[in-house]
Amino acid sequence: MKRLPVLAFLVWVCALFYVGIFLFVGGFLLVRLEVNRTSTCEDVLLPSSAGSGSDFCHAQPRFRRAVVLIIDALKADFARYDPSNLSPRPYENKLPVLDELVASRPAHGRLFTFQADPPTTTMQRIKGFTTGSLPTFIDVGNNFASSAILEDNLIHQLGQAGKRVVFMGDDTWENLFPKKFHRSLPFPSFNVKDLHTVDNGILQHIYPTMKGDDWDVLIAHFLGVDHCGHRYGPDHPAMADKLTQMNGVIRSVVEHLQNDTLLVVMGDHGMTDTGDHGGESPKETEAALFLYSPSPLFPAPETKADPTVVPQTDLVPTLALLLGVPIPYSSVGQVLLPLFPLPGQAEGQGGGPDRAEALWINVKQVNRFLETYSSMAKDIPPDRLSELQAAFARVSAAYLSALHQGEPASPELIRSMQAYLSSVRDTCRASWARFHPVKMAAGLVLLAGACLLCYVLSELSSAVLAEGGVLRAPLVVGLCVAGCVAVAQLSSQGYVDVHWCLAAAAASSEVLFLWRNCRRSNRSSSSSQKGRVAPPRLLSAALVVLLLRCASLLSDSYVIAEGRAVTFLLCSLGLYVPLRLNWDGLLLPPPAPDSQKPPGALPGLPAWVVRREGAALCLSLCVLVGSLYLSLAMHACREEQGGTCQPSPFLSPLARVQDSRLRNMHYLLSVAALAGWTHLLYRWLRHYGNLNSPGVAVVAARWLLPGAAVLTGLHWAVGSAPEDAFRGLAELIRLAQSALPRAACAVLGLGAALLWLDPLTVFLKHRAPAGPHRAASAPPPPPSYRASIGISPQAELHHLIPQLYQRIRRSLEDGPAEGGAGEDGRPAVEAYGLGTVYSAPLLLFAGLLGLGLLLLHPESMAPAFLLLLLEAAALLHIHAACSTLYSQQGDYSKAFSVPWAPVVLWSLAATQFFHATGHLPTFPSLQWGAAFVGFPDGHTGTLLPATLVTLNTFSAHILFAVACPLLLFWPLVCEVRWNRSGRSGGGEESEDVIMEMRLRENPQQFSSALLQLAVRYLLVSGAQVLASVCAAAVLRRHLMVWQVFAPKLMFEASGFVVGSVCLLLGVTLILRVDMAVSGWFKRLLPDTSR
């Protein structure tokens, strides 16, 4: 068979898809230019102080020192105190100190709701409230690799002003601000299970530091609350303990405060009811902000006009002006007015600007930033820009004239300055949601072209493969065009835009290929119809379901309810299959031998075979529908679904389950599912005789698979033990937690490696007439094959395979011990497992991979994986039964071609199990716990945890893509089912039963069918990517675009990339097996000719 061309075609098609996705994402995901300028003291000179000559930075600031306590994920609800609530939940009423301070000293402290901008991840938030700028979507990707902040920020300004900044807590800061701190005590932040290390580290050092005098600004970032939320959720006693501890911390910090010190207590973001964050729901964005000072902080009593909700960017200018440093260059925040004295009151408040001055400094700084930014980037619309500039001119004229006349600024002026600041902020927010429409359109067109190409390739796979060298011209032309575009860009613009080079290459090769095939198909259709394969069956329904699925991606409601929608479609297509078969009259055996039909026109199956296949079909359908229904119980919930959705109880790790009986039940269920997974695979391999060979692949199946399962079970047992249960064994448990999963992983990896090394599971047994020789090493008597010496090896091969196979069949029935070998002079040789030589290694590989992926999931997800196995088996059997039943109509199975319906079912099942393994296409629902499997102490690098989380997220896509070639083999594997009992016909019929050896006999058809199947799978998944790309492009101004469509696009695209790579892996394994089989036959043939 043609191995390299198949692989080359697939890689090329995948590359086309990748380029399309890359181009679209490059135009769709927003990028904000960073302005690398910094503010200086001269920038904030007030017009009045220009005369008096005093410098802003050297003037007496309002506060000399500040203590900033950042309590990660301190939600606004946590900080509120409601004395009338007599039975508070674990997270309610646990911070009474804030309420006491506000009530007893209203001029000294106030509590606000702190409005964070999405994305609500810690690193983005730290960036936000130190630089004062707005984040863009692309920043989300940087969460693993915190890199230093290059924009002007508060820490930098404090350092410039000579303030000594002392930091302790979350080590993200150390990465963001390297060498910016006077003193820094970072603690590891990545281990979400660790509630206390960071907090206890801070508590050890914070009081001695505060008592000492070598600091001006103290930043302490507590992580316990956030980790507690991630690990247990807010509604857990551990959260009450943590918040009570924080209450004590705030109380004693307040006692340590001096008069010239400002205290800021804030949360960087909130959390959902499950303790996650990252999105933009109110629960995640609303954090708490508490400001307090022993000296009066709020000059005027609280009025209705004062804000209760403070945007997070507003903290930057406020803190800067209170501490007497310039506002960072690219801040778009607005000073918090209630903290500044009214105009004219300033003298009594000891230094610092009054409200009008503060606003004026702020307005000037924002205007300067706007000017710089608009000169660098053209994304702010010009009309909006000129409006803003006009507003600034008006405000500054009014302010300066008021200043010259020596009268305090009027409230109207203050309001107009505030309005100016708000409109700048809104403009920035709107224009940083900016797209590159040309790139998006190009990406869309490329993806659509790739889908079309997939369709053409799947229809013409045999013709294309038969010709050979079809791919060379498109590739060469693509490379040339890319080179030309690069040169043209270099000469005209001076730099190379990778996007356009790739786009040109992909488009030109696509167009060339399509054009040539168009011509070819015209020619071939005029000459003969031979190139056409069997007419597509079930096409209409499969196509309708695929279209519905793609259309559902265009509606936010259906994306939110995606899990159920996909299950619904899968169920519909599954139930349609027998209805359609019955409509064609193929489900039931024909009532009586019909004399009207001319005999011989239809091959026809015996009635009992039809009945049996029909029963198998119905049984598989029941399994399919049952596993679909059960899998609905494993779904997680999106925030948008609200209270109507209950997240599955299987989602939480066992350590979080508090009831010990429930925990034991879950554990037993998981172990049973694990055993089921292993046992089913083992049974299947044994049933088809794949466990007899002494080869290494069999070692993997016999020992490594169960071994890894046992290790996984042990790992779960250790991991689900409650934290404080075995104090004496803590060290041992710790060791086991890291060693067991690593060992399991190593065993699985070893198994996979052995499988690649020698994928054959065929055991050739030479049998002497005298008695069975158990071992293959025993010297066999020369085997007597029927093949005569005179004919060519090729012809020998043809004779050999059926006879080998006949032996296998007999051994399947009689067991390996007995076989009436020599009596009729037939060859005395048996090849166990030859009939499943292709599918067995693939299945084993998928099984090993599945165990590895299961290891990355919470323990309770094991039943979902068992359901996955059952459903995949049901789909395969439905497909096999269908193709057997359809073979009544004509020589349907001869071409090995897999119709659309099973491929669509297979691809939908991958999406369905993405949801049924507890995943959702949203960023907060990523299962970060996967990064800690085998690494309970966290990581140093970022590549490994990112890989683990990716594997965890797309495990369903991976498994279904790897196992996709099984669709090709299964009808052949199931062939034995009806021919085995019908062997009374004798030698004539036994020629039929050669299972997967059929593929070897028709290498051309094998390779074209394999290519066709893989390309169809790529098309079905690619069409879904195309649909979500269309959704993101068309609905880019939709309300839900950043909440629903953009994450869906990212997940769909990454799922496609991961899935296609795994499909290539699966196909490569098949090709590897084919090579090994060729070698095996080569070794066998010299034997026979001897």
Partner: protein, 242 residues
């Protein structure tokens, strides 16, 4: 030669039977159209009459009342029409005990079909415990529109049912109309599930109103389409004799 003669005579026979049956066809189609019109009007009556007689009746508000009124009227009219027209399978025995056993079996089949539809609807994602009554009512409605017609036309004979729903299984225009109406009702119920996840907050998006409405509309469409379609394709339709 003999074979060709045979073929020729068959051809002549087919032509003659076509010609002779064409007029018969028209009467049959007309009869079916009027029967379908009666059934369709009974659905409208079942909607209008309670609205006049009962206070506070609305299709959405008191949905189950509407549902059972429609189901009841469709059942009664169906049975009456098919009894009057005498389109029922020929029976060999006319004893009373045979009739009673047939009736009992029909009732049992109807109940089983309700349970079957209920199971299928639940497997499609309907809530299992809450609003089980509503789900079951949908199953009853679907059974009335599909199984009851099968029972009326074919009798309690599952094999015949399965046979009817294949491409060349129809043996009369009534069988074809049964295929069309049943397919349309089930398809309507299936399509009715589509608007449920949408966030439009309409009263008809509540489970199972959209599905019952969908199946009713589908059934009406089937009733309307069946005579038209059969009339349109009367040249292509050839029915094997029983």
């Amino acid at each position: 030669m003999n074979y060709q003669l045979n073929l020729f005579s068959t051809y002549i026979y087919v032509c003659f039977s076509r010609i002779s049956s064409l007029s018969m066809w028209d009467t049959e189609i007309r009869g079916m159209a009027s029967a379908h019109a009666i059934i369709a009007s009974s659905i409208f009556m079942a909607t209008i009459l309670p609205a006049i007689l009962l206070e506070k009746f609305s299709v959405y508000g008191s949905h189950l009342v509407w549902l059972y009124s429609v189901a009841g009227s469709v059942a009664v009219v169906n049975i009456a029409v098919f009894w009057l027209l005498g389109i029922s399978p020929p029976t060999k025995r006319h004893t009373l005990s045979h009739k009673v056993s047939k009736l009992v079996r029909s009732c049992l089949y109807f109940l089983l079909s309700c349970l079957f539809f209920h199971t299928v609807v639940v497997l499609y994602g309907a809530p299992l415990l809450e609003s089980a009554l509503e789900t079951f009512s949908l199953a009853v409605l679907l059974s009335t529109m599909t199984t009851l017609r099968c029972l009326c036309m074919l009798g309690p004979n599952v094999q015949a049912w399965i046979r009817v729903f294949s491409r060349d299984g129809a043996m009369s225009v009534w069988d074809t109309s049964l295929q069309i109406t049943t397919g349309c009702s089930v398809l309507g119920a299936w399509l009715g599930a589509f608007p449920i996840p949408l966030d439009w907050d309409r009263p008809w998006q509540v489970w199972p109103i959209s599905c019952t409405l969908g199946s009713t509309v589908g059934f009406l469409t089937g009733l309307l389409v069946a005579p038209v379609w059969i009339h349109w394709h009367r040249k292509q339709l050839i029915y094997k004799s029983k």
